[in-house]
Amino acid sequence: MSSSEDMSEEPTAQVVLEASGIRKSFAGVHALRGVDFRLRAGEVHALVGENGAGKSTLIKVLTGVYQPDDGELHYLGAPVSFARPAAAQEAGISTVYQEVNLVPSMTVAHNLYLGREPRSGFGLVDFRGMRRDAENLLEDLGIDVDPRRQLGSLGLGVQQMVAVARAVSADARVVIMDEPTSSLEPREVETLFELIRRLHERDVAVVYVSHRMEELFQICDAVTVLRDGRLVHSGPMYEMTRLELVSTMLGRPLSEVRREGTTAFGGDHETGSTALLRATGMSRRGVLGAVDLSVKPGEVLGLGGLLGSGRSETVKALVGLQSLDAGVIEVDGRTVRRGSAASAIRAGIVLVPEDRKAEGIIPHLSVRENIVLAALPRLSKAGIVSRARQDKVVATFMERLRIKASSPEQKVNELSGGNQQKVMLARWLAMSPKVLLLDEPTRGIDVGAKAEVQSLVDDLAEQGLGIILVSSDLEELVEGADRIVVLKDGSSVAVLTDSEVSVDGVMSAIAEGGADE
């Protein structure tokens, strides 16, 4: 989109939304300290920064969720202040917030049209019309889902696409997306980009937040970088290289960033000779066909496959969160009871789940409490919890994962989205398991912390843990894993070792896999 005509057009395009000198603090935490932001018609504007830099807060100020402590907003040239999200929406700003902001108990169609349902006579909601509209909209946008399905029964990626569909269908002048791709598969990302291109053609301004650098360069025209609540850079995208962007975000010299490369995984690991965990013939009607896998101590096993291939279900089954019809799971040669989370934990298998927000964060407890929760038995003697040992564990992880919080006692729901992810990650890591299952461990985490998570995974493998890694970021999967089991339609179809562990290797295994059956 950054073709040469665009470049010459950009500076003259109308400014639709402008924020100047925005300040916002929460009980002593300065989330924004005087930020300026200018959005022009038809541009795709990247808003980037580390976890906790203030991106989501800025978006919430722009859209009436929060009122700024200081500063001004101008929309279409006139000063405005949006008292509620509804006011911003009526003015033509529609937003996909970072958390999936839909109602899980309602259908897809309802979620698309809540608040603007088509009505027939007597002011009654016209369900048939609504379903038809929803079908047309989803088809037009290339999203494959039945609008009658209950939203909560769908995968996170599809839910996110529904949220995007709702935002773009509102016929807005500004569409804001806060990490829309955090739970999307590559194919869905393509669909999303196609949508964004169409918005661009219609001269709609788009604000785009993401921690995935390659996306920013693919789709964005302009970029604004925040660091610690301050504006550190704003300008056209083409003026920056990827490394420059990363170094501006992190506030570290270019040379240092260059040295670190794309992922922070080390090389292969010393692995033990006998399997630590072995699963054979895991199956569940309609979910898993036949999955076999094993992990040795010190090994990182990757699970490859497309959306719906059964990766998350496989790791859930290993910890007893997905019931199985058949299959044997053994740790150190001892059989673990199928479908029992308690016996999986006792055997030392721990899962960091994909949907960390829904599956485990306890919003009103502090960062410390959330981290030590699962590790309490290990940190206590005769039922008495040692506070000193707790503090030590918490301090280690907060530093290692760079969790940005005012103190360990801050409530976890006051943290930025990415920092909440890190807290959950810390909770499971603190359990010091034998086998660690990581489902999308770096989702929603900024580049700096991503590297930390990756090197932490490496360290853990070095210490002799068996690790199973699921990641839709192929590069991360390939660089992190020593061996990859490829899943297709709920069955394991290939095992890649040594030199086969490559992006191409995984792709071709997915393409060929199961064809000969």
Binding site: P85, A86, V103, M106, G286
Partner: protein, 322 residues
Amino acid sequence: MSTSQQTRSGALAGLVQRHGALGVLVLLLVVGGLAFDTFLTAYNLGNLAVQASFLAVIALGMTMVIVSGGIDLSVGSVYALSGVLAAYSARWGPIAALLVPLAVAAAIGLVQGLLVGRAKLAPFIVTLGGLLFARGLLQFLTAEGSETYLVPRESAFLQLGQGSVLGVGVPVLIVVLLYAVGGIVLQRTRFGMRLFAIGGGEDAANLMGLPVTSTKVGVYVLSATLAGLAGTMNAAQLGSGVTVIGVGLELNAIAAVVIGGTLLAGGMGSVSGTLAGVALLFVIQDLINQVGGFNSNLQAVVSGAVLITVVVLQTLLSRARR
């Protein structure tokens, strides 16, 4: 992958969850009809329906409140207060006897709604306050219950509770009408959609730009007004304002709503289920009477057991649907 199979069993579970109360009700009617000659008679059922109508009206409002993720504990007190106000106002004519209690009830609902919706206080606490307030006001107005107001003998107001059209009691007709309208409001209007959205995810509803505050205020006004109407109907039926009624009635209403398949956590439910739930409570009570010889407390025991069974079933079913 046989996802169709999964959705089919999920749909079945959903069906049972929504219409389970109706199923059990039909079963009990058949069993009761076979066992007792006096059970399935127009006279007995007509009587039962009139008795059940007051709770039914209250439970309708409660359904909407619970769907929105709230709770209204004040309805029993508002019901009793309204009855006394109706009996008192009947001296000024039937219109006053109807409007005075409704206006007072709506005002109580408005205050509760503002406290819940605008001041964002917990509905449990706010409506518990409403319960005490209304009951206290009632005690004050009747000088601790020592004063009883009678509806004038010839007042047309009495028809609201005692009249009948084509052999069907007026209270029953009112219930039928209200549930028809209530069903449309909940399932087919934007207001209803908002209730489901707020109950299913209040933050999301707010971020979607739905008018959360006014919807909440509206639903508490509605609930209190319906409780007021139920009290008014009751006064018309009894011909006087009775101060001791309605104690714990809010719990019966909640029980009926939950038995009817409405999720106590909000976001899911139906008024038809609630109607079946109310009917079920009264049919159980009547069947126990028919058997005879039991302590009347046994009714509460059985109702309680039914409630727990339903809640356990609901939980299991909603797990099966995942």
